[in-house]
């Protein structure tokens, strides 16, 4: 997976590069609009992260020139939370936008969606350790025992299971499970996770559902509980 980051803020570039590289992305960086245009047109990327405010040539100009030749998916980063910027970006061919400040996890989510990454688990039966989640039969078992889950708990589990190994932010979970896409300032996700955990991990010695403090939740088998 190749991603091009067009952004002039060095600190942002640094953490995006190391973060995305660690997640298995091949990262190219352009520090201004001209270089960005050049790279975006010369090379094939799976997705491009494009800042609006850039030296030499702004994001909209880069997008316009790119769109004249290529349809590489573009996610725009904007510091201004103005409707006009968003509408303009989307009208001129951006595929998605993120408003600064944004979380790294959210960016990764969007990148995956845009790059249409073939997910590791497309099957309807997902296994994580001794957990089996049957998406068609809508049932989950652990160690052969059926878990007694409510509809929402099952939905939450299947969202985590589909992306097992990835950290899912609270925002992402709220969107995927409840289709709510605003900062709700509620403890819905925490409580839902707590309840799911009681049923999923409570009776079993190996824990699968982990909290990554400050970031979100991950469903995975861990050798060492303190490793993250």
């Amino acid at each position: 997976m190749k991603v091009l980051i067009v952004e002039d803020e060095h600190k942002v570039v640094d953490y995006l590069r190391s973060g995305l590289t660690e997640q298995g992305w091949v990262v190219d960086v352009a520090l201004d609009g001209e270089e960005g245009t050049h790279l975006a047109i010369e090379y094939d990327y799976d997705v491009i992260v494009l800042d609006v405010m850039l030296p030499k040539r702004d994001g909209f100009a880069v997008l316009k020139e790119l769109r004249a030749q290529k349809s590489t998916p573009v996610i725009m980063l904007t510091a201004r939370d103005h409707v006009n910027d968003r509408v303009r970006g989307l009208r001129e061919g951006a595929d998605d936008y993120l408003t600064k400040p944004f979380s790294f996890l959210e960016l990764v989510e969007r990148l995956h969606a845009l790059a249409r990454r073939t997910r590791a688990q497309e099957s309807t039966l997902i296994s994580v350790g001794d957990l089996y989640v049957d998406l068609i039969g809508r049932r989950a078992t652990r160690d052969g025992t059926r878990l007694d889950l409510t509809a929402k708990e099952f939905q939450l589990l299947s969202v985590l299971a589909r992306r097992h190994g990835d950290i899912l932010s609270k925002t992402a979970i709220t969107e995927l499970v409840w289709e709510v896409n605003f900062d709700s300032h509620t403890n819905v996700v925490e409580t839902a996770i707590k309840r799911l955990r009681a049923k999923l991990d409570g009776p079993f010695p190996t824990k699968l559902l982990h909290t990554v403090r400050g970031m979100g939740y991950v469903l995975e088998v861990r050798e060492d509980m303190r490793s993250l």
Binding site: A172, E175, L176, W178, V180, M215
Partner: protein, 495 residues
């Protein structure tokens, strides 16, 4: 371009008017005088002619003619301002030399002529005297000098012109002073207006002390000040609020990062510090986003991506989302009523979530929260009522203010940073609605409304209602709707 002065312009206009009126009056006077003088001249001419006529008429012989001639000479003044001449066919009956010259004008028997070489006109009249005895028919010509009339008229005209000029000048000077005096209220207005500054924003123009002509100006100036003041006040409190709310997380971040770096820490300790930092950063991000959201609503931004939906269906979704918090608090919620309105469903959900969370936090276990939706005129009211302790009426009006908390302490500030209800108000504003609150009989009701264009409601069967609205969706709105829901779409695509 030279800038104009009202006083100067008024003075100039008054002067032009005065000049016009003075000239009119002067011309009139001049004409009257001329006619009168002419009249006077003719009368004196007639008098002389009459005397001469009588003398000549009764003279019938050449012997008596010299007497006539003597008398006629007596009649002629020494300055020759009146002349008499008699012509006849008989050389014995002659006197003087009749005047000839260029005829200037003729009025009846009066002829005005200019003798050759003379510098003024003479007015003449001629009488034909029939024969008497030996005297044949004679022609009597009497002439009078016009020069004194002309001199008088000329002097009069000069005096008049001088008076008109002087009068106009006086009017000019006086009207300038009067205009200055009349414009004094404007100067006062200016003084008042210049006293308005950011430090003295409550200063207003006192329109009661002004002439009524300036009322409108003062009032529109005042209302402009009012609007600016409100906007300025909002901006100021926005800055103060943001600074205040960010102070705590920044203090925590600085402090714990410094503590973490003062000693060698284990990886676990450092990880904990980072995680704690992340939580604070998240909190700051939330505050920034919410404050920007409120600022946009303050600036009058309207909700976009409006879709005409059943609000009850939207409320159902919100209640489903809040199932767990409701369950945890051991309270139940009922939903009644329905209406359709064009809303941004994400914003609507957010407002209702905030109201419900507020209700959940303020009622005890076993209580029931009632959500009601009803149409009132062109507004749809959404209310959330919960049993709770009476709220001080003085505080009711402030509940939707930013960062206003019923409890003075900030103990629960981590859970909800005091913007929940302010956001509800912002969302109501963005939908051309309002917020309302009441606390009566142990029931606290919080609600908001959204504008619903006058809808034609056709009841087809009990329980089913078809609603047609006149709401139109612009292309840009649809695009915006796509932007708003792209996150959801991404999410849906994955699941």
């Amino acid at each position: 371009m030279k800038r104009s002065s009202i006083a100067r312009r008024l003075a100039l206009m008054f002067a032009v008017v005065a000049l016009f009126v003075f000239t009119l009056v002067g011309t009139g006077l001049f004409l009257v005088l001329r006619v009168q003088l002419e009249q006077h001249l003719r009368e004196s001419l007639d008098d002389r002619a009459e005397i001469a006529h009588l003398m000549v008429m009764h003279t019938s012989t050449p012997e008596k003619w010299h007497i006539v001639k003597d008398k006629l000479t007596d009649l002629t003044p020494r300055d020759r301002s009146t002349l008499v001449a008699i012509t006849s066919a008989d050389p014995r009956f002659l006197y003087g030399h009749p005047l000839t010259g260029v005829v200037q004008s003729q009025w009846g028997s009066y002829i005005r002529l200019r003798p050759p070489g003379a510098d003024h006109d003479m007015l003449t009249t001629t009488i034909v005297i029939p024969p008497n005895g030996a005297r044949p028919e004679v022609e009597l010509q009497v002439a009078a000098d016009c020069s004194s009339n002309v001199r008088t008229l000329r002097a009069f005209a000069v005096a008049l012109a001088a008076l008109i000029a002087l009068g106009t000048l006086t009017v000019c000077v006086l009207s300038y002073s009067v205009a200055r005096l009349g414009l004094a209220p404007l100067a006062r207005l200016t003084r008042d207006a210049s006293a308005v500054s950011p430090n003295n924003r409550s200063q207003r123009l006192d329109s009661r002390a002004l002439p009524f002509e300036l009322d409108d100006l003062a009032n529109s100036f005042n209302s402009a000040l009012e609007r600016l003041d409100t906007a300025y006040g909002r901006l100021e409190s926005f800055n103060a609020d943001v600074a205040h709310e960010l102070r705590t997380p920044v203090t925590i971040l600085i402090g714990q990062s410094e503590v973490a770096l003062t000693r060698d820490r284990s990886v676990d300790d450092l990880r904990q510090t980072l995680q704690s930092n992340l939580e604070e950063f998240e909190r700051m991000r939330t505050i920034i986003n919410d404050m920007l959201f409120l600022a946009r609503a303050d600036q009058g931004e309207r909700a976009t991506g409006l879709i005409d939906v059943s609000l009850a269906a939207q409320a159902e979704r919100t209640l489903e989302f809040l199932e767990i918090p409701l369950d945890e608090a051991q309270v139940s919620a009922t939903l009644s009523g329905d209406a359709r309105a064009p809303v941004n469903s994400s914003l609507f959900g957010r407002a209702l979530t905030n109201l419900l969370m507020n209700a959940i936090q303020h009622c005890s276990a076993g209580a029931q929260i009632r959500v009601n939706i009803e149409q009132q005129g062109d507004q749809v009211l959404i209310s959330v009522a919960n049993p709770g302790t009476q709220i001080d009426p003085a505080r009711l009006n402030h509940l939707f203010d930013r960062f206003y908390r019923v409890e003075a302490s900030r103990t629960n500030s981590r859970e909800n940073h005091g913007l929940g209800l302010a956001i509800v108000k912002a969302i109501a504003d963005m939908h051309a609605g309002r917020v309302f609150v009441s606390s009566e009989g142990g029931i606290n009701t919080f609600g908001f409304s959204v504008a619903a264009p006058q809808a034609v409601v056709v009841s087809t069967a009990p329980g089913t209602t078809t609603t047609t609205t006149t709401a139109t969706a612009h292309a840009s709105l649809l695009l915006e709707a796509a932007a708003e829901s792209s996150a959801v779409k991404v999410a849906l695509a994955k699941s």
